[in-house]
């Protein structure tokens, strides 16, 4: 019964709504991967910073990779919020986890990080989780959670 109602809901989603969710998901994943790789490249140039004071991080902004990376992560945040306006958190979280796979692969091919067989296994498991989540309806709630407002 429960599974049937989920399936029905997926079938009644309009093509426009499905397309919007897919485009936003692509934007979230792509901007997450590119932004994080740029931040990583930049922080390797800037060197070690461990501090409780945000002011200490300002010197990181002298590096162009960090500046561009932060700009791209602003796009990531806006597209993530737009996606959360249309879809469940428990849909968005696993589906956008494909970014982890792409970040690991980019780390391997661009930053020359080593990927062991265990990590390749992890990449396969995440991909399976992404596929499973993608099969569920994007949204199962109607309106906002009133008790939180």
């Amino acid at each position: 019964m429960g599974r049937m109602s989920l399936t029905q809901e997926k079938e009644t989603a309009t093509p426009g709504a499905v397309r919007k969710t897919r485009v936003l998901t692509l934007m979230v994943v792509a901007s997450n991967v590119i932004g994080n790789v740029m931040l990583s490249l930049g922080m390797h140039h800037v060197g070690r910073i461990v501090s409780a004071s945000p002011g200490d991080y300002m010197r990181a902004f002298s590096d162009p990779w960090i500046v561009v990376g932060v700009c791209i992560l602003v796009i990531w945040m806006a597209s993530d919020l737009a996606l959360l306006s249309a879809a469940d958190l428990t849909f968005v979280l696993p589906v956008t986890a494909s970014a982890y796979v792409l970040i690991a692969l980019t780390g391997h091919f661009v930053l020359h990080d080593r990927i062991s067989s265990t990590r390749w296994f992890g990449i396969m498991i995440i991909t399976l989780g992404v596929i499973l989540a993608e099969e569920t309806p994007a949204r199962t709630t109607k309106g906002p959670p009133e008790h939180l407002l």
Binding site: V50, A82, L132, A133, T140, P145
Partner: protein, 120 residues
């Protein structure tokens, strides 16, 4: 130090994502993907206390991530934040009242396990 930063990132990520989801559902679903609509959405966020709180939590998480990236590789740092997956799924079910069934639990568990494996 690495794992303290991972803990800060996980807790702040969870609080931030739950608040952002509640806030964006309150604000309403965006109608289309035109640049004007997205800019208006961002403008409305500045009057949305739930999203502002969520972004505050994510900002703390971001600075902790910057620290972590300065002492660890990206392929350790980003996957390590995935500890929050199961906690976020629990809060989505009981706080956000999402319909979380076996397939979504399986997806969350697989992603969390896979991300943990990435650290090896």
């Amino acid at each position: 130090m690495k794992w303290l930063l991972v803990g800060i990132i996980a807790v702040c990520n969870t609080i931030g994502d739950v608040l952002n989801t509640a806030g964006m559902k309150r604000q309403g679903e965006i109608e289309n993907l035109s640049p004007g609509t997205l800019v208006r959405m961002v403008g409305h966020i500045f009057r949305n206390p739930l999203v502002l709180g969520g972004l505050g939590a994510l900002a703390v998480s971001f600075f902790a991530l910057l620290s972590l990236l300065s002492i660890a590789n990206v392929s350790f740092a980003v996957p390590a934040t995935a500890i929050s997956y199961l906690l976020e799924t629990l809060l989505a079910k009981y706080v956000l009242k999402e319909d979380v069934r076996s397939r979504r639990w399986a997806a969350a568990i697989l992603v969390a396990a896979g991300v943990a494996l990435l650290e090896w």
